[in-house]
């Protein structure tokens, strides 16, 4: 009881007395008798802290922790430096609300401003928001940014992450935006014949779901040629070495920020980021922090451009987003500060190199080959016989193998895997294929 109500029963009795009330029932006089809950709810009896800990620890123990993870597909097992978690756990960051009161929230506001800047640097864009829910909802929100009265149709790549495609579909079911999914040819997006004067935007993921590098410059040309915007969905962990979305010609860049220091955590909380070129800045949904000055001319940071937002604009708002993933954005900022450009380059290069090492070793095995011919980054699909047996054998050794996708297994390698771990995995696969 004490854990959730600091006041004692005697103290509460005192408060009731001060109010001239006889007890809790008096508080709820307006609640119709017919809907009042009679007895206790069908929940377990209250537990002490020790019991709750035991219960949740037991649940966590029912999961299998893989010591080597060769699966990505939207969630990536990168190394998280110790300082990331320790700094992000500061109670002031964890228990603050949205920084509406700028005077006592400069630390939160400045860290968001820094996050926005880092996202702009990674993507080459002019403006970024303070985060949205995740990469999939970021993509869906980006489509809405591009819609106008004349352009009501979006074309999205069929090589995007299936969850992202499904999320976009759902948002479009809401908004009524028309949607066309571009086919995948040889593992990459084929826009042929899909663009017209009603096309508001094209969404392409790069590297795509299959790990393949898309020809983004050409896609940008095609989109712009039709008067449409190009939205690129990117993996920020690749952006220490891959071209920035803006340099390919993208108008909006979005993505899933989980690779930037967030744990896998069975899928969340993750971090959606959104960045855009200057002309689209005021179309960005969600919180945005801006720099200004106080009356003494001192640099100050505030939530800005709130006229876009739902608490001002209500049904005319650009989005309904208000709560976002602020603490995850802070986490990503700390991660990027610790890694710096050199560290992020290493993450990218090592992930790419190790994925190619694994791909090479797997494809040296009988019956194993790459499904797609193009260049890839740190994910790739193999055609491989006896995939269920291979995965089971890997699992038995604590290795999470590639994700079954149509036509094969989608593997992923990050910098965290050592060569010996990869060699061990290959040896297991070899034995199964034997």
């Amino acid at each position: 009881m004490g854990s959730f109500l600091p006041s004692t029963a005697a103290e509460r009795a005192g408060l009731y007395a001060a109010l001239g009330l006889s007890g809790p029932a008096d508080l709820y006089a307006d609640v119709p008798a017919s809907v009042r809950v009679g007895g206790a709810l069908e929940l377990p009896a209250p537990m002490s802290e020790l019991e709750v800990r035991r219960t949740l620890e037991a649940l966590s123990g029912q999961n299998t922790r893989f010591s080597t993870i060769l699966r990505g597909a939207g969630a990536y097992d990168h190394y998280i430096p110790a300082a990331v978690g320790r700094i992000a756990a500061k109670e002031e960051f964890v228990t603050a609300y949205t920084p509406y009161q700028a005077e006592i929230s400069q630390g939160i506001l400045q860290s968001i401003f820094e996050f926005q800047t880092m996202i702009c640097e990674l993507t080459g864009m002019d403006a970024a928001n303070a985060s949205v829910y995740d990469g999939a909802s970021a993509a869906a929100e980006a489509l809405a940014m591009c819609r106008d009265r004349k352009r009501t149709r979006a074309v999205i790549s069929g090589a995007a992450h299936p969850d992202v495609i499904a999320t976009i579909r759902t948002y479009c079911f809401g908004s009524g935006m028309e949607l066309a999914v571009a086919p995948v040819r040889d593992g990459v997006t084929d826009l042929t014949g899909l663009l017209d004067e009603t096309t508001a935007c094209v969404y392409v993921q790069h590297p795509n779901f299959y790990g393949q590098l898309e020809d983004c410059s050409e896609l940008a040309g095609a989109a712009h040629g039709a008067g449409a915007k190009l939205i690129l969905g990117v993996n920020p962990a690749t952006l220490g070495v891959l071209r920035a979305p803006a340099d390919y010609g993208a108008d909006i860049a979005v993505g899933e920020g989980q690779p930037l220091g967030l744990p896998l955590a069975w899928g969340g909380p993750y971090l959606g980021f959104m960045a855009a070129t200057a002309p689209l800045m005021r179309k960005l949904p969600g919180r945005i922090v801006g720099e200004t000055v106080d009356a003494q001319g001192k640099r100050a940071f505030v939530l800005t451009m709130q006229a876009r937002e739902q608490h001002i604009r209500r049904e005319k708002a650009s989005s309904n987003v208000c709560s976002n993933e602020a603490l995850c954005a802070l986490t990503a900022s700390i991660y990027l500060s610790l890694l710096g450009p050199e560290g992020l380059r290493q993450v990218g290069e090592q992930s790419c190199a190790k994925a190619h090492y694994l791909a090479g070793a797997l494809c040296a095995l009988p019956g194993v080959s790459l499904r797609f011919p193009g260049p890839f980054f740190h994910e790739f699909v193999t055609e491989l016989p006896r995939a269920p047996q291979v995965l089971a054998a890997l699992e038995a050794k604590g290795i999470l193998g590639g994700l079954p996708v149509e036509g094969g297994l989608l593997w992923c390698v990050t910098e965290k895997c050592s060569r010996s771990e990869l060699d061990e995995a290959v040896a297991i696969v070899k034995e199964v294929l034997g």
Binding site: L27, V35, P44, A96, V241, G267, R313, L327
Partner: protein
């Protein structure tokens, strides 16, 4: 305070990774980045000091009273943080085989069962990442329901004029037209206006109960019946569930679908703006439309699809489950009663101190003051008073909301505050009222103890600077 970019020096950094142990695999030239992103180049020691400085200029529930109305800034038990950091949760890939992630699934299942109990709903999804996301999801369930029945003319969502801005915004995102329902002078939904607004185009009504002025809509059964009779469904905005959980259930009041803000009602931390979790519960009639994940599973043939990748803001649900188990079958109600009691006590103290409530009588978990008269008399606005509270080490209440109250200040003390904290806040606010009358200029000048004075928000919005300009650095 220096920006992290201003601390950067070329070549600084940390040794985090071993050298590569496999051959390099160069990228095609067309994809190779020309110039490195200008991320800060700083040593770990500098990162530590930087964020320590940031933390010193932040204010959390850990720092003091935080009666921000409508945000339910309750204390977040430390146990939740420990449990959400368990490697058996943090290290689980969302696409692991189901038999290797049974513990995670059980967390959702158990939390879902308990929340169904609390809300009176039949099914619960944890996919939405925040309250507004839950609203959007819930409205899509309503939309899918009508569409699947061929009832495509239902395009209007009714929203009271006192509602949170997210309600109309979510309705718009879901493709609905929004029709506003006026409030009575008493602060309740105008029943006749609701009746008049209902019709063949009614997709549904969104309602917070208690509503945003902190009053329980006592005609709630009539309201849900009116909407149902018109063929619409009723959506419960769970923002204010903290007032009534364990006391009354939205499902029993006639609501068909609801969202819950786990980061409010269920004591998971707000994190400076997120992550939250906007679990959505619904009655059986809407269950076929619940979301799933293309790769992560779930979602039937009539599913609306999905609103984010994978399963949930999972670690938030872990914390909420820990809190639910702590409260247990009797604590849920006790927490609600405590919240309502604290709000009434503070309201009572502030009225006694000379403040005007927007609505008299008992409130639920929050209440609204109006400083309209004070402003007329002294020139001191709700904003001035809020800023003066900063100098007292308190977080101000929500300002200028709901929109139907002039010079509104909306207080929500929550049940996790002690009586003496409420007394101290009341005393401080009484003193500020005195100052407002004797020396209004002092309040116009507030705050004076903070690291910055009032910022120029107009300038910020007019010519937005939303990223660091390295040229100037």
């Amino acid at each position: 305070m220096e920006l992290i970019f201003e601390r950067s020096r070329p070549g600084r950094g940390s040794d985090l990774l071993p050298p590569p142990d496999v051959p390099a695999s160069p990228l095609p030239e067309a994809h190779r980045r020309a110039a490195a992103p200008r991320l800060p180049e700083v040593a770990e020691s500098e990162v530590s000091r930087h964020y320590q400085a940031m933390a010193r200029h932040a204010f959390g529930v850990c720092d003091g009273f935080y009666p921000l109305g409508s945000c339910t800034m309750k204390y977040n038990p430390k146990l939740g943080e420990d449990l959400a950091a368990l490697p058996g949760f943090t290290g689980i890939h969302p696409l692991q085989p189901e038999h290797t992630a049974r513990g995670c699934r059980s967390v959702l299942d158990r939390a879902g069962a308990y929340l169904c109990q609390i809300t009176g709903m039949d099914e619960m999804t944890f996919q939405p990442a925040a309250g507004a996301h839950g609203e959007f999801t819930g409205l899509l369930l309503i939309k899918a329901y009508h569409v699947h029945r061929g009832d495509t003319g239902r395009t209007v969502i009714l929203v009271p004029d006192s509602a949170h801005g997210t309600n109309p915004a979510s309705a718009a995102m879901a493709g609905f037209t929004v029709r506003s329902i006026p409030s009575t002078a008493e602060g309740l939904v105008d029943l006749e206006a609701l009746r008049a607004a209902c019709g063949a185009d009614t997709a549904g009504l969104m309602l917070t109960n208690p509503n945003t002025v902190g009053l329980f809509e006592r005609d709630i059964l009539a309201m849900t019946e009116i909407v149902h009779a018109a063929g619409g469904l009723v959506y419960y905005d769970g923002a204010n569930l903290n007032a009534i959980m364990g006391v009354a259930r939205p499902g029993d009041m006639g609501f068909d679908v609801c969202h819950l803000n786990l980061h409010k009602t269920f004591a998971t931390p707000h994190g400076g703006g997120g992550p939250g979790s906007g679990a959505v519960g619904c009655k059986a009639l809407l269950a076929p439309y619940l979301p799933g994940s293309a790769l992560g599973g779930g979602g039937g043939a009539q599913s609306i699809g999905q609103v984010r990748a994978f399963h949930a803001n999972f670690l938030v649900v872990v914390r909420a489950l820990a809190y639910l188990l702590t409260l247990g079958n009797t604590g849920v109600r006790q927490a609600a009663e405590g919240a309502v009691l604290n709000a009434n006590y503070l309201k009572h103290r502030l009225e006694a101190a000379g403040y005007s409530s927007a609505y008299p009588g008992l409130c639920m978990h929050e209440f609204v003051l109006t400083l309209e008269q004070l402003k007329k008399q002294t020139g001191v606005s709700a904003l001035d008073l809020a800023k003066a509270m900063l100098d007292q080490g308190m977080h101000p209440p929500t300002m200028y909301f709901p929109l139907i109250v002039h010079e509104a200040l909306m207080f929500e003390p929550t049940e996790t505050e002690t009586p003496e904290t409420l007394d101290r806040a009341a005393q401080a606010l009484e003193a500020l009222l005195k100052t407002a009358r004797e020396n209004p200029q002092a309040l116009h000048a507030a705050p004076v103890t903070t690291v910055i004075g009032r910022p120029d928000e107009t300038a910020a919005a007019r010519r937005p600077v939303v990223r660091y300009g390295f040229e100037e650095g």
